[in-house]
Symmetry: C2
Subunit: 123 residues, 2 copies
């Protein structure tokens, strides 16, 4: 007497997706868990075979959000990285890290080991 134990097909109604193109996914997922699950399983607390599966998917969403948050802050640090996909963004990040690492090497060299151009000739 519980509903659809291990099925994915609890996603069988429509949501206005055109309005908020990609925020739709998370909004729908939250809506799904907050409102649908308690209603479906109300009164049968011990008959929830996928109750662990609920927190599992929630934990997985938190993981995805942590990763995507870091990707978002990286997008702000890397110029022209808007409308790049994730792989291209990370490729740009690799280039910038390499480039900035090289520049950091230069500055530490010019500070710790003075070059010949730092000498002064007095006529």
């Amino acid at each position: 007497h519980y509903y659809a134990p291990n099925s994915n097909n609890n996603s069988s109604f429509s949501v206005p997706t055109q309005i908020v193109p990609h925020a739709y996914d998370s909004a729908f997922a939250s809506l799904q868990f907050q409102y649908l699950w308690p209603l479906v399983f109300e009164g049968f607390p011990e008959d929830r075979p996928a109750s662990a599966s609920k927190s599992h998917s929630q934990a997985e969403k938190r993981r995805r959000d942590r990763i995507n948050a870091q990707l978002a802050t990286l997008r702000k640090l890397i110029p022209k990285s808007d409308k790049m996909d994730k792989a291209a963004l990370l490729g740009s990040v690799v280039d910038h890290v390499k480039d900035l690492k090289r520049k950091a090497m230069d500055v530490s060299k010019s500070i710790t080991i003075p070059s010949e151009t730092d000498e002064v000739t007095i006529i």
Copy 2:
């Protein structure tokens, strides 16, 4: 007369997973598509409802691999980033980009605009 159109349950045999801890996933996936699909659908080319789904999952795997390849090269660039999960690694990358961007700012300043410490006092 085709087998299991849209089911995930073509993963019902065991593979020695203990030996190669995490490379198991991709190895199994390749094995699944290269050998199982052609056998199951042999002789029924027009009766493959999930034939597009095969290339879909393959394309998705290529996408994941591209992202993970960039993450791997980032791991080599960031010190002590082994044993970090993806989110922590990206967090470290954010810090390094910020820090290196600051250092790059310093070097360009010290080159283009000489500071007072570059002056020479002759007694």
